[in-house]
Symmetry: C2
Subunit: 345 residues, 2 copies
């Protein structure tokens, strides 16, 4: 190999191939994440256990869906692992990654949504995934928290736990992926964020510039000026970062659930929780790329819609009473905020 | 006017202008429809009254939204009238009507969704609308029925009432608009129709050929071969047809609700109704063009989402027990059927 054709070992670029066993390592990591999460959540719940269903996809691949229902803490929760392959990626992804056109693809991911019964415990969502198609590969994912009756200290602790994980890998991650999350989980028709956010990233292939796709920006006017650039990173760095993010879920969430699992509540709090769950449905069915893509193609419907809450309420014209605790959710928590620097008592 | 430039009075074509007072007549007809429907439904309900909210659209126009809640028959129902105008139609409509590009538009419509409490009474949806934009105008709309615990005789009566109305205007209407409804209200990801259908039509501008847009056809392989052609029709004919369709709602639906409003039911029926209402949410948020367009632009969210049920349930992996009454809904009623010729006892 001549010097001129040798790849620069210190500066990976978009054509840097992944390790030979990249698929096995990514899927094993994401399967292990599913196992760890389920184990931690069963310990937290104390009553119910996850029920698993394995499934195969006719076009290639399959997964294992795990559901917990009617538990001590969780009214319903799902943790899915899947690993699929096929002839070509859908057009919506090829727009973002034209180099993948004409190539077979491989995709693996773990995703989770938890709907606790107690309205003082937030709903939480996590998804980490890895793609390969011809010359390109990328990592994506994130985690976000959706409280009903929020506590500032919980939100700050959640964000700081994530930030610390990010900082151990790259000090720019949190400052880029936090506003990306605020933008992505935004209900334009309600002018509300879905919750208090967390982090979100997609198309992370190690290139020096942060890729932000054309469909990013529903709430862009509010936050995109704060999004910066990222240095070049290797496959190994991104793999380790994704793994660390996944592993930070339990320490970020379990303490919040533990603190509130015995909080007393009444019909008012339950009704408000059911009402707010409607926003989760609206987001997932109207905006979420993964859900819509899965439904309109040949995804496994029951696994995709496992994210929908077990019981939901809509009420025409509802607005919280000014000054109420419910109004505080809207006024403070459903807007992008600098949670890690929040002046909590 | 010379003979050569005179419009042919017996053959309206796509450039035939509407009457000078077309907008006033269309909006007055649709407002009257809202009034008639609300009056008939209040009489049926016996307990609750519609509450009205008038609203204005900053870009031009407005509407009056009417909601009935916690009634004797209706757990929730909404009947909206709106009349809006603006600089240009959205791209999704311009694809279907390129002649409208660069012209201001006018649109008026009445839409309705009713969610009865008793699971033996079906949910029902109606929408009739009228558009103008530069050289083009068209009527659209339809009605469809979504039972939970269906009765064949109800479904047959519903379809025959609609068919009779259609036949009085054009014997081809029902045979074209009935399968169009089956196609439109189809949940591809569930491989189910939303309910037992009714009629649906769009872009009816009097041209001889039936226009079927590129996004028609989710379930096309099942029904589109039965869709025929329509003769040329005048604005007056289409106006009268839309009005007659609107007026046929009460005779098509009220007898069904009257028959079942005192039927006894228990928790099993209630739980199944709440579960099936989830399909209504899935359809409206994932597929319905009007809902998605309204949400992603600047529609009045509360009026658009008035169609969502007051209480909804999702359950991972639910399938009805084979041979049960719930299974019969899936096996017989959630597929396109020739209801007007159904061999009922």
């Amino acid at each position: 190999m001549t010097l001129s054709s040798a790849p620069n070992p210190t500066a990976p670029n978009k054509t840097a191939p992944p390790p030979a066993d990249s698929r096995e390592r990514a899927s094993a990591m994401l399967k292990q994440l599913q196992d760890n999460i389920c184990q931690g959540l069963e310990a937290l719940d104390g009553e119910a256990k996850f029920q698993e269903e394995s499934w195969e996809r006719p076009e290639g691949g399959g997964g294992r869906s795990r559901v917990i229902k009617q538990g001590g803490v969780f009214e319903q929760g799902g943790v899915n692992f899947s690993e699929v392959w096929g002839d070509h990626l859908p057009p919506s992804i090829l727009v973002q990654r034209p180099e993948a056109a004409g190539h077979r693809f491989y995709a693996t991911g773990t995703s989770m949504v938890l709907h606790p019964r107690n309205p003082y415990i937030p709903t939480v969502h996590l998804n980490y995934r890895y793609f390969e198609a011809g010359p390109v590969w990328w990592f994506g994912g994130g985690i976000d928290l959706t409280p009903y009756y929020p506590f500032e200290a919980d939100v700050v602790q959640f964000h700081r736990t994530i930030q610390e994980t990010c900082d151990r890998h790259n000090p720019a991650y949190y400052q880029v992926f936090k506003p990306w999350c605020d933008e992505y989980f935004y209900l334009k028709h309600r002018q509300e964020t879905r919750g208090v956010g967390g982090i979100f990233f997609d198309y992370q292939d190690g290139q020096g510039l942060l890729y932000r796709g054309p469909d990013q920006g529903k709430g862009a006017d509010q936050v995109s000026q704060s999004i910066g650039e990222l240095p070049q990173r290797s496959w190994e760095e991104l793999f380790a970062f994704s793994q660390a993010c996944g592993n930070s879920f339990l320490p970020a969430y379990v303490p919040i659930a533990e603190r509130h699992k015995n909080d007393e509540y009444g019909d008012r709090e339950r009704q408000f929780q059911l009402y707010r769950r409607g926003r989760y449905v609206e987001f997932n069915l109207v905006y979420d790329r993964g859900t819509i893509f899965g439904l309109q193609t040949n995804g496994r419907t029951e696994s995709i819609l496992m994210s929908l809450p077990p019981l939901v309420r809509w009420e025409y014209g509802y607005t919280p009473e000014p000054g109420s605790i419910e109004a505080k959710l809207y006024d403070t928590f459903l807007k992008p905020q600098d949670w890690v620097n929040w002046p909590t008592a």
